[in-house]
Amino acid sequence: MANLVEIRNLKVEAKTDSGRIVEIIKDVSFDVAAGEIVALIGESGSGKTTIALTLMGHARTGCQISGGSVMLAGKDMAKLPEKERAAIRGREVAYVPQSAAAAFNPAATIMDQVIEVTRIHQLMPAAEARLRAIELFRALSLPNPETIGERYPHQVSGGQLQRLSAAMALIGDPKLVIFDEPTTALDVTTQIEVLRAFKSVMRKGGIAGVYVSHDLAVVAQIADRIIVLKGGEIQESGATGDILSDAKHPYTRELLAAFEPKARGTQPVVATDNPHILEIENVFAGYGAIQVDGLPLVSAVRSVSLKVERGRNLGIIGESGCGKSTLARTIAGILPASAGQIVFNGRQLAQNARRRTREQLRELQIVFQYADTALNPAKSIEDILARPLVFYHGMARKARDKRINELLNMVQLPSSVRHRRPAELSGGQKQRVNFARALAADPKLILCDEITSALDTVVAAAVIDLLKELQRELGLSYIFISHDLSVVEAICDEIVVMYAGEKVEEILPSNREKVPKHPYSQLLFSSVPKLDPSWLDGLEQDPELVRAYCRR
């Protein structure tokens, strides 16, 4: 037996809501050698997680392994009785989930959950397990390794939790660890630290790994081999270097292409008396009761000023929690600013959306990050798009129908989606509908809050292209919020970097190379992974800076 894992002709079936059986994994075969890290990469829904879970002999409810074998160290996980499977889980193969925040039981301490594996399989006495856990915490460069285990999951940061879930996987000394997009939910600055920790621990222990991701650049840093999936089938597989330099399959090339920086012609400024569509000055906003100084208890945005020119785009970046969304919500009037001025189209806006006129509301639209929650699941796409048409423009049935078709056309959706409900669309499609609804109002400015963050790279690139095209046609302006630098760079003329509620730097279009001057901006820009496999090992960041700006 040469390989630790041998998957042969794996088939997984799922039962859809209407009772139909569909094959979501079609005839997949691959191997993982001992100590090797193999990456599974592909768009959302391509079956990455499903395959990863079969390695544990598990299929989510509604799914079922219907054919093939999953040999792990000589045992077929697909056919073992449940009891024996349970005995292997956690001991020989362990799992690091996509969202550690959801995978930790909120009601138990971290230590209890980390050493639970040793308890279940009676691997060692609890005291010993605890010592070993502390060792692992240290190895994963977690702060306060001695005491962090006594906390509850909500008391540590996302990046820390992700590393703790790795400790949870490693405590049973598994031969194989499965990582399911472990860094997707993290900030770039945090991602680096987590990746480094994973890499060193795996190397040291000679542990084999299956690393699931849709981000080629991340995978490039950690995997020995890459397997490209689409629609439940393997498209291509090969050593990391080969795939990056010499991809054969068109889908892989598409993935790679999403990384190439796109040239962007600066938009001509529309000549009017007032070149600015939006000017905000010294805006303060936050949450909680208003204190004596007139500011809220938790202040999330402090003294931010910015200007957006007509027909141009402004990008806002910064780490999670720095106040980007708060700022967008303040501009939109959802969260009234506690101080400062917002001037839109030459006129001062009321802080609260309730006191703005219908016209003002119409001209300034906002598109949210999660298309899922921004679309009413109980309504059809048609109804969703029709409402602003009726509400703002009082359109009658016929005109409305025509306009809906136009809008769908604009966002490149077939008119057949009209009668569907949001749940029947993919993530990218939903985000387009979301955008079409904003367009239906005929706005002048659209606030885009992380509208591509929930999409995978290929789809996100398509959405960005669409935005650019619409801007050319309709002369819109965007404020584009993201924590992904490449996305912002692709579309924006001007970039604002925020940190802890404040604007730290403004990178103007005149600065053609976009070289940041502020140390935080520098850190942020340098943390974006590159396609180069040696990037992570070669990356050197000022530890002083890291300590100052990363709340790990």
Partner: protein, 316 residues
Amino acid sequence: MNQQVLSLISSRLLIALITLVIVSFAVFFATTMLPGDTASILLGQAATPEAVEGLRKAMHLDEPAILRFLRWLSGLVTGDLGTSYANDMPIGELIGGRFVNTLKLAGVTALFSVPIALTLGITAAMLRGSLYDRIVTIVTIGVISVPEFMVATSAVLLFAVYLKWLPALSLANEVHSLADVLRVYAMPVITLTFVVSAQMIRMTRAAVVETLTTPYVEMALLKGASRGRIVLKHALPNALGPIVNAIALSLSYLLGGVIIVETIFNYPGIAKLMVDAVATRDLPLIQSCAMIFCLGYLVLTTLADIIAILSNPRLR
């Protein structure tokens, strides 16, 4: 325990207090709106104008309602519940023994029904979709659907009249030993267990099923944990809030809703006392009983909320 928990708990207590004040207003004025004159009802068939007048004076019934409300409220606060119109006894004395009886019955019933309901609810959730689960579900629906007096009467006929294992009445005063407790409380407890468990079973099952679909439960499964461990260690602690809430609602039913059981088993509890009080238009007694029920409900639900707050480590 930290500041946040303390402030959450104190705000819950404050809410309960406000509700109680609203209740006391509502109770007092709703009851004074009951038609019929207490004095003439008390005299029944023998009411003559002179007798009625005499009685009204003796009972302060000729004073305005507001005055009586204020007097009553200040009495409540100082623990003086007033005097019964019907028999001139202090309400505290009238209610005292009955209330203890009600608490006893509720306690014994809770002792039986809560573990039964939890066990059935949890096991049904664990074996979700199985034959066992379906049987439990159907049986609980069936049990919910049978009127209480039907359950009680059937139980009496079976256990008391035909089998003669248990007494048909539940005479709380005859309890001297543990064996007596079992004998005397068996019938009402059987009936009430039927009545209150079904709801608790449904709620427990739903709450546990909900947590069983969470990622951390899947994670536990992937750690190789057994079904029992998954449910007890991972699902249950997180389902505690809704379960405790369901238990609180059921127990509050045991305080005030058991009128039918009290009637059939002739159990001298507080619900029957209130029904009597309505019949005799004994306003102070009605008001006190109503306040006790509301207080019981509020104490239980507030307690459940506090337990839910305390059991949520995010708030610790």
